[in-house]
């Protein structure tokens, strides 16, 4: 790109200026306030600023360049050469803004948007880049560099530094951009679960987040609150409608009930009278029937009573006869009993006689007799026991005699033969006639006395037995027992006899029996008695029947007197009934379908109750209606719905916005990742090269120190942080960066740079070196250098254009 010519009729203080530029280095020389910067502005705006501007929003722009005091427009025209082709741009700002682009083929374009597009297409460099790198004031570039360098947190190496510098050339801090994005996302998404598209933790309007909420949650709550209010409103409206319907139905019921009640109440008097008369009529009818029946029954009852009386008389006679027969039967029974007793007593007497005979057959043995026998026997046993206590045994082994005798105890002597063994109790006497007489006896027994007493006892014992006609004590006991039994039997029979006789004698009884003369053909008393009972029952029954009949007749008589009067009474009752019927015929009848007066009255009671109930229901429903109406929200359902739709639209808009921001975040992160992988090595090399040039070889780029300061190495080896560099060195660094980036921007194409007096702070050596660098740059690019210093212009060389 080459700017060949710039022209303006009016542009701020410039008037009818026309300057021509050549390729390479053009030095625009002029004193201060000569309009150098204005001319650069004219080039810039003619190239990049639309002619049509908002007069209010861009008032400062218009004011800055409109000539004072009476100008109302300013303009500019540029001849540009691009790859050998000519373009001509003209613009005029003011009351009648105008823009025109003349294309290489001679066509003219006046639509500004099209002009912009065509210029962009031809320039191949964006307006932003042109503004930042090509037309930037050196001071602005220095400011950009300074800002990047002040952000030490991210820079650790030259590549990163340059990368950041390039990326933030437009004054847009990436960190601030990210922070701003995060802030906006937070403001939108605070407490919103994006993934689930609901508030965090599912906390709806019943339990809403109070703190940290973003716009989406707030809009969601607002929307849902309105929706809930709509639901409540709708429910209340439905409820109100339902109550209203109920009121209508209740009203209709009340009307029906009231109408029916009124209709019934109209009949009420007649029905009440009817209620009084109808029972009377009923009573007269019943009386009439009763009298008719009495009239019919009275003679019949009289006949029946007479018949009963006859039957009763017959029955009484029969019972009397049976009583007499029963008496005979009872006498016969007594006689038979006496005879039986007599027979029995006789038997007893015979038995007693037999027993007394048996007693007489033996001597009577008393207890004393038995005791005597036992005592005598005891004495025998006592002596025998004593002898047995002195028991002796002997053995006769040899007897040289013809005979020998042995006496043992109280026994008799007995013959002995040898050899033999023997024993004896208490006493032993061995006699061998003529040879031997040997007595052996117990020491404490007087054998003679013993034998005497012993034999006396035996004799007494035998005498006693003989007296009692028994052979032993045991027999004596048996006989005594037998005799005791006889005596007891006799006693028992005698007692029995006494009981039967009851103080009489047997003869008395025989006499009594003989005195009872009873015919032998008499029926059994029990049979007679049963018949008597049966006849008695019949009598009682008939007597009862008779009583009833008599009672009935008595009742009729007491009520009506004579039988004839019944007929008279009947006529009277009939007349009364006719009177009542006549009264009833003039009264209203019960409503159709109603069976009785009770039912009529019950219906009135039911209707009155229903009327009261319905009244109460109505009042309750009216209260409910008023309450429901009072509870209705101030806004109607339709109004709430409109509000809800607005809230929903706002919510959706915020969601869309959040989605957009999330997408920005995604692209931003991707872009950062992409950029961070770009080493910017070519730019870094350019920068190093230019830095060396602009600092006359005194400085080279080193590392970044621990304080994240860019270290510039001086030629003498001393390293200095950039922030303590001199203004000149700083300018050099900034220029080096700008030139490096311009190379990067133009990518080998011919480009343009407008430099204001950027060498003013350099020392002569550096200035010389910088001038050479600029000259070198101008070999491939057009350079427009503005300065007020002729020496600088001379130093730079190139084409000098005086202003």
């Amino acid at each position: 790109m080459l700017i060949r010519q710039v022209k303006c009729r009016r542009f701020a203080g410039l008037k009818d200026k026309e300057l021509t530029f050549g390729p390479g280095l053009n030095v625009l020389l002029g004193p201060n306030e000569a309009g150098k910067s204005t001319l650069v502005d004219a080039i810039y705006h003619t190239l990049l600023q639309d002619a049509t501007v908002d007069r209010r929003r861009q008032a400062s722009f218009l004011k800055q360049y409109t000539p004072h005091p009476s100008g109302d427009f300013f303009d500019g025209a540029l001849h540009i050469e691009l790859s050998g082709q000519q373009l001509k741009v003209e613009k005029e700002w003011g009351r009648h803004p105008r823009a025109q682009l003349e294309l290489p083929n001679g066509n003219l374009v006046r639509d500004e948007a099209q002009i912009r597009e065509l210029l962009r297409e031809h320039l191949q460099v964006g307006e932003g880049s042109l503004a930042t790198l090509v037309f930037a004031r050196q001071s602005e570039l220095k400011e950009a560099v300074k800002q990047v360098l002040s952000d030490t947190a991210t820079q650790t190496e030259l590549g990163s530094l340059l990368r950041k510098t390039v990326m933030e050339l437009d004054g847009v801090s990436i960190e601030q951009l990210k922070e701003k994005l995060q802030e906006q996302l937070k403001q939108l998404l605070g407490r919103w679960d994006w993934e689930r598209q609901r508030p965090e933790g599912g906390r709806g309007i019943d339990n809403p987040w109070k703190a940290g909420t973003g716009a989406i949650v707030n809009a969601y709550y607002q929307k849902e609150t309105l929706r809930q209010q709509m639901r409540v409103c709708q429910q209340l409206e439905v409820s109100l409608h339902q109550i209203s319907e109920n009121l209508k139905q209740t009203g209709e019921k009340r009307a029906r009930v009231s109408a029916e009640l009124e209709m019934l109440l109209v009949l009420d008097d007649d029905i009440n009278k009817r209620a009084a008369l109808e029972p009377q009529l009923e009573m007269q009818k019943r009386l009439q029937q009763e009298l008719m029946q009495i009239n019919k029954d009275w003679p019949k009852v009289e006949m029946q009573a007479d018949l009963k009386r006859e039957e009763l008389a017959q029955l009484r006679e029969t019972v009397k006869q049976l009583g007499e027969e029963l008496k005979l039967a009872d006498q016969l029974k007594v006689k038979q009993a006496i005879d039986q007793m007599i027979e029995k007593l006789r038997g007893l007497q015979a038995e007693i006689g037999q027993l007394q005979g048996k007693l007489a057959e033996r001597p009577l043995i008393s207890k004393q007799d038995i005791a005597t026998l036992e005592q005598l026997r005891d004495q025998q046993i006592k002596w025998e026991a004593k002898l047995q206590a002195g028991r002796m045994i002997g053995e006769l082994s040899k007897l040289n005699a013809s005979e020998g005798w042995l006496t043992k105890g109280f026994g008799e002597r007995e013959r002995i033969v040898a050899p033999m063994q023997f024993s004896a109790d208490g006493y032993l006497k061995l006699t061998v006639p003529e040879v031997l007489e040997l007595e052996v006896k117990a020491l404490d027994i007087d054998m003679d006395q013993a034998r005497q007493e012993y034999q006396a006892a035996i004799a007494a014992y035998r005498d006693t037995l003989a007296q009692l006609a028994v052979s032993s004590t045991e027999q004596a006991r048996e006989v005594k027992q037998q005799q005791d039994g006889y005596r007891a039997q006799i006693k028992r029979l005698e007692d029995e006899l006494t009981v039967f006789l009851k103080g009489r004698t047997l003869d008395d009884m025989i006499t009594q029996s003989e005195a009872l003369a009873v015919p032998s053909m008499v029926r059994d008393a029990e049979l007679i008695r049963r018949e008597m009972q049966q006849r008695e029952l019949e009598r009682v029954e008939k007597q009862g029947q008779l009583s009833n009949l008599e009672q009935q007749m008595n009742a009729w008589e007491s009520k009506y007197g004579q039988y004839d009067e019944v007929l008279l009474k009947l006529v009277e009752v009939k007349r009364k009934a006719d009177d009542i019927l006549a009264q009833l015929s003039g009264l209203a009848t019960l409503p159709e379908g109603m069976g009785s007066i009770d039912e009529f009255r019950q219906r009135i009671r039911t209707l009155r109750q229903a009327k009261d109930d319905l009244y109460k229901q109505t009042e309750d429903l009216r209260d409910s209606y008023r309450n429901a109406q009072a509870n209705l929200p101030e806004e109607s359902y339709e109004e709430l719905q409109a509000g809800y739709q607005d809230a929903e639209a706002r919510f959706n808009k915020l969601l869309k916005q959040a989605q957009g921001l999330l997408r920005v975040q995604q692209v931003l992160e991707a872009k950062l990742a992409e950029i961070s992988s770009n080493p910017f090595s070519a730019l870094a090399e350019s920068f190093k090269r230019y830095l060396s040039c602009f600092t006359a070889g005194n400085y080279s780029v080193g590392d970044i120190n621990e304080q994240f300061e860019l270290i510039i190495h001086r030629e003498d080896g001393v390293s200095l942080p950039l922030n303590i560099l001199s203004a000149g060195t700083y300018d050099g660094v900034a220029l080096a960066l700008r030139f490096a980036m311009l190379e990067h921007l133009f990518q080998g194409r011919n480009g343009l740079v407008v430099l204001d007096d950027c060498l003013v702070d350099l020392d002569p050596q550096r200035k010389q070196q910088a001038a050479e660098t600029i000259q070198e740059f101008a070999k491939t690019h057009q350079v427009i250098f503005t300065t007020c210093d002729p020496a600088t212009a001379e130093l730079l060389g190139g084409t000098t254009i005086r202003l």
Partner: protein, 374 residues
């Protein structure tokens, strides 16, 4: 002698207009003014009968003062009878206070058509006129209230039999849920009346200014009440001949006009054209919602705020929804505003690659612009 009928309805007195905070009182008052204007028109035309075919009031809880005020305005009708039918908004279920208050205040010539029985207007001095009301007794119903007319076996002798109903007329307004006493022309014709005066839908029916061959009329609202109401408000002035013919003339009644415009704006000229359109014909009575979309150059995009501010001063109410109106962001803009290789340039350029990222591009642009120079 002909019978002159003024037919209106859907006045919606008591509507609150909360969405139009700055002019809500004016809009509320406008409904009274329009009612008065209609009474004046009817009086000027010598009408015998003034029919309000439902929704005189916006709801059954309209403040008593407003009810009495409306009743007093109607009482100024100089014809024989004002017949007011309860509509679905001011329904009469026999419980509310609205209609008793209205009746008390409306005078002897007013009758409330809240019963489903023939209403002989001879008591009001209109011999031979019988009204057949189809009133609303609830806010919603899936059944119209014409059934009783169809079932009527005997009708009073009348020169003119006029039906007055309220509900959605099939084909005129959608009632998808059948909640608004939906009725069809066939239903109405089946009733075999000389004239039907209907209300509910806020659009007049049939179309046309003067009609002679119709017997079914919907009044439409006389005073527009929302953005969906794009006419100027109207009512029917009718003349019923001895031969039962009907001549109907549509009269304009409203004061406010609502406009809901959705436009694509491409440049300055569109704004200017819109300005001319909106400022024509009584702009101080215009309630406008503008939904703008499109892509604009940034300076024009920024200009829209000044533009809408100026416009707002001259209209009764202006709501501009320009969420879909954005700065035209393309490579050209990005190149112009950002240096090649800079991060904003790269970020925004990446977002221009897919049209799906348009929202993100706009947001990113605003973000970058917000941060630039900070």
């Amino acid at each position: 002698m002909a019978l002159k009928v003024f037919h209106t309805g859907d006045v919606h007195i008591g509507m609150r207009f909360n969405r139009y905070e700055t002019i809500k009182q004016d809009l509320i008052e406008a409904r009274f003014q329009t009612l008065r204007r209609m009474v004046d028109m009817a009086n000027a035309e010598g009408c015998n009968l003034f029919v309000v075919a439902g929704d005189l009031f916006d709801n059954v809880r309209v403040p008593k003062g407003d009810v009495r005020k409306a009743a007093r305005i109607l009482a100024e009708f100089s014809g024989e009878c004002v017949a007011v039918l309860p509509g679905n908004h001011d329904y009469d279920d026999g419980q509310g206070e609205l209609w008793p208050i209205f009746t008390d205040a409306a005078g002897d010539r007013a009758c409330v058509l809240n019963s489903m029985r023939p209403m002989d207007l001879s008591a009001y001095g209109l011999d031979g006129v019988v009204l057949y009301p189809a009133p609303c007794d609830a806010k919603h119903s899936d059944q119209h209230r014409l059934g009783w007319i169809k079932q009527l076996t005997e009708r009073p002798a009348a020169k003119w039999q006029i039906g007055v109903g309220h509900g959605a007329l099939s084909g005129l307004s959608p009632d998808l849920d059948s909640r608004y006493f939906n009725m069809s022309e066939a239903d109405l014709k089946f009733c075999n009346l000389d004239l039907w005066c209907l209300g509910h839908t806020h659009i007049a029916y049939p179309a046309g200014e003067q009609l002679t061959d119709s017997s079914i009329f919907n009044c439409g609202t006389p005073e527009p009440d929302g953005l969906d109401c794009r006419h100027q408000g109207s009512a029917w002035l009718m003349e019923l001949g001895e031969d039962r013919s009907v001549i109907a003339k549509r009269v304009t009644t409203g004061s406010y006009q609502f406009a809901d415009l959705q436009l694509t704006v491409q440049g300055h000229d569109d704004f200017e054209a819109l300005t001319r359109q909106l400022l024509a014909d009584n702009p101080q009575k215009k309630v406008v919602r503008l939904r703008l979309n499109g892509r604009l150059d940034e300076d024009i995009y920024r200009y829209r705020l000044d533009w809408s501010g100026q416009l707002r001063d001259q209209l009764a109410y202006l709501d501009v929804q320009d969420d879909d109106l954005r700065v035209r962001i393309n490579r050209s803009l990005i190149d112009r505003e950002f240096t090649l290789g800079s991060f904003p340039h790269g970020l925004l350029s990446a977002l221009t690659e897919s049209p799906d990222d348009d929202e993100a591009l706009q947001l990113a642009y605003e973000l970058v612009k917000g941060v630039k120079g900070c």
